[in-house]
Amino acid sequence: MSSATVIEERTALSPRRKARRNRILQYVVIAMLAVGAAASADWGQIAHVFLEPQLIRSAFADGLLSALVKTLEYTAGAFLIGLVAGTVLALMRLSPIGPYRWFAMAYIEFFRGLPAVIVFIAFSLLPLAFGGLIIPFDPYGVVWLALGIVAAAYMAETIRAGIQAVPRGQVEAARSLGMPAGLAMRKIVLPQAFRIILPPLTNELVLLVKDSSLVFIIGVSATGNELTGFGRELANTQSNLTPLVTAGLCYLIITLPLGFLARRLESSSVKAR
């Protein structure tokens, strides 16, 4: 037999051609579905219910922007509380002192396991349990606390992972220079840990922006309405979804750049390694 072995008859398409045929087939199916959906929809009615220009304008007049600002304020405060409490919890979680560790673990598991809605309902009823309880900065205080308490549980785990991702040699170098453990943590470990977890923290922020929509459960007054509450109320009174859609678009205006930022940070931190 010669070194060039006989190639058996191959009548079937080459793998490349087969892949191309399958791809074209899928495009055809997708196009047919899209055309079918477009043809069967009543565009006039859809536009009227979801995107009535008149109502978009009136949404701005009724305070869409101040609702947007409220959403940002609620989120920012809660993020700050979550960050500080999350850092404390992460340090407790890594502490050599048992009770600290147990408390942090219990807290984290408890608030990560509960639906945020339940925490919010509980907060709305707090004054019943503790008569005379006044949370300062009304309406911000309650919202910040409720959102922040849940966010802290998630962030604590992220921050703990960040702390543990800092190489051991960094602590050894700091300690060998005479730094006590706490100082080494503050000056050397934490700054590096936060740099490592910047991408996941940005994602937490996106989640928080969306979770801030849950404040309507707490029952803030109309002036305290953030985007969802605002859109919902207006949609109800006008029996039209346009205000809600407008509010939804506002969320995207906040979250899309944040998501983009998170991806950028992620790829740059991969490069840095």
């Binding site: 960094q170 050894e172 170098a173 005479g178 590096q192």
Partner: protein, 255 residues
Amino acid sequence: MAASGTELIEIKGLHKSFGDNHVLRDIDFAVGEGEVVCLIGPSGSGKSTLLRCVNLLERPDGGAVIVRGENLADPDCHLDAARRHVGMVFQQFNLFPHLSVLENCTVAQKTVLGRKTAEADRIARANLERVGLTEKAAAYPAQISGGQQQRVAIARALSMDPMLMLFDEPTSALDPELVGDVLTVMRDLAEEGMTMLVVTHEMAFAREVADRVVFMDGGVVVEQGTPDNVIGNPRHERTRAFLRRVLDPTHALPA
């Protein structure tokens, strides 16, 4: 064999185990003031562990580590205070990547020694000049070569005005052409009279710079003496076998 009378480090009956692995077995060992001691030996011989026990980065399981008359192995010892006087240079440099070269050299001065910024900067710059890196003060560790990073690490340790410098295989992670810069800095340091304890595989450096060479194997000190004796004319077969492997690796028989 100490160069001068006073002992800066005295190690007595030191034991250290990692699980079942008995790494250090009853080590007695001393380093005099101004002395340069090189620790050599095969990997796993316990030399790095011994070095790390001197500033208690490893906690000994038994024995005493007396530095400047203070037993660091005593659980009630003020360890952080004692460590200020002991500089340490690591194989992997361990510079702080989020701080500039200058800040690497000032952060502990300011936070541990309580020096003012101007004073800390001045001392840091003086030590950067000592290692030939004045112009890199504003750079970040990731922007400079491994050899430069290790010299910064030396300057960082020197900025604390240590009585004693520990080097843990300071050139093992470097590209061959960068080793010389670091060794030159270390030799200058030795000539200025710094007390140094160096774990190294650089036999030429040990031979030229060390006052005393200590050969370790299997967690014990096998022999020690002047470089000429230990490296040039070793008495023990284990030392000879090790040196054959290190000095002539192409002809070493696989163990």
